[in-house]
């Protein structure tokens, strides 16, 4: 990860000198992760793809404002987070940031249907803030301080959201866990 961070830093300095190909490399490195983050927030592959596109466009346009190139990841996810919440507000102004209905989600291909649906349903029962905390920690592997940067809130709030979500998920997924350990 350190080696990768150094390389990202190098690419960012090249982008700042006008090297478009360097940004293409950054996109190819980060697009799958950003897409999956947005997919787990929105539940729609089409929306996630559009939002990913918009996020990378915003990132390119404002990359000179990035103070610390070593923090490119959290900075990029902050942009994606803002894009997602802006999308929620436009789509359903009265229920902004509610995420997506469980019915809209699809089971992950190549994954056992019952487990996939159970985990997806459990995530859908969380509120958007809790779900996003789980996605950032469990699926994207961010540290608490990075999550705080992405979400724009204190570390204590991040931990509170994550641990509350985990308590709920433990109860929801207990039958699966029990079955898995049997």
């Amino acid at each position: 990860m350190i080696f990768r961070a150094v390389e990202d830093t190098d690419l960012i300095s090249r982008v700042r000198r006008g090297d478009l190909e360097a940004f293409n490399l950054l996109v190819s490195r980060w697009e799958k992760r950003v897409f999956n983050y947005l997919l787990r927030l929105t539940g729609s592959p089409d929306d996630a793809l559009d939002l990913s596109q918009d996020s990378f466009l915003k990132a390119y346009q404002s990359i000179r404002k990035l103070d610390d190139p070593a923090r490119f990841g959290p900075w990029l996810y902050r942009i994606a987070h803002n894009e997602a919440y802006s999308h929620f507000r436009k789509r359903r102004p009265e229920t902004a940031a509610e995420g997506v209905d469980a019915a809209e989600r699809e089971a992950a291909p190549g994954f056992p249907m019952d487990l996939s649906l159970a985990v997806t349903a459990a995530l859908d029962r969380l509120n958007p803030e809790q779900r996003e905390a789980v996605v950032l920690k469990v699926y994207q592997g961010f540290k608490f301080d990075e999550m705080a940067e992405v979400l724009g809130c204190p570390v204590s709030t991040v931990k509170s959201r994550l641990y509350t979500a985990l308590d709920l998920l433990k109860a929801e997924l207990a039958p699966i866990n029990t079955r898995g350990t049997r």
């Binding site: 992950a108 190549g110 994954f111």
Partner: protein
């Protein structure tokens, strides 16, 4: 619900966010606290179940190069490439400097004592150029003589050296021929003696 006083630390530990100095003591605590050990197992099982949900492949690559909206304007691209090219920037600086020199030359105020300087230049003695030509011709002749003498010395040294080498080679050849001749004579004598012995023994 776990009521252990180290429960919050346990959660941080489960996500590898506990400070290194607290890790060891918490691990010792977990070994002796069944509630914390069970809670840690539950958290790990839950996160493991969540991680079973795989990432999806992106349905299509983010179109970046092909999308013109991403590209900066032509003026901005030219400016960026200009500022990023040291050679172009150096050439432009040289052009600006040259232009400044030309403008400065055109706008320099006239010098009043220019006429006397020109008069002095024209007042140079007429035979000075003849003296200079004579001196140059003399120096050229002297240099040619020196070069010719140097060439002659070099040629003579080369000839002497070549003759000496040739003489050495000729002597070495004569010595070798003499040795060969001696060898042939000895061999001929040996054969003659053997032949006479054969004739004497035969009945």
């Amino acid at each position: 619900m776990n009521t252990c006083h180290r429960f919050d630390e346990l959660r941080d530990y489960a996500f590898d966010e506990l400070a290194p100095e607290s890790r060891h003591s918490l691990e010792q605590h977990i070994a002796g606290c069944p509630d914390c050990a069970a809670e840690l197992d539950r958290m790990r099982l839950t996160t493991a179940a969540l991680r079973l949900l795989p990432d999806r492949e992106i349905p299509q690559r983010i179109a970046f190069v092909s999308d013109k909206i991403f590209e900066p304007s032509p003026v901005r691209r030219w400016l960026e490439s200009f500022w990023n090219s040291g050679a172009r920037l150096g050439f432009a600086s040289a052009c600006v400097l040259a232009a400044a020199l030309i403008v400065s030359a055109y706008h320099r105020p006239a010098v009043n004592n220019a006429a006397p300087a020109i008069a002095q230049t024209t007042a140079v003695p007429a035979d000075l150029s003849n003296q200079i030509d004579a001196a140059v011709a003399k120096a050229a002749t002297q240099i040619r003589e020196e070069v010719r003498e140097e060439d002659a010395r070099t040629l003579k040294a080369a000839l002497d050296d070549s003759e000496r080498k040739h003489d050495q080679e000729r002597r070495a050849l004569m010595v070798a021929m003499g040795e060969n001749l001696d060898f042939m004579q000895k061999r001929l004598s040996t054969m003659t003696v053997l032949a006479s012995n054969d004739v004497g023994v035969r009945p």
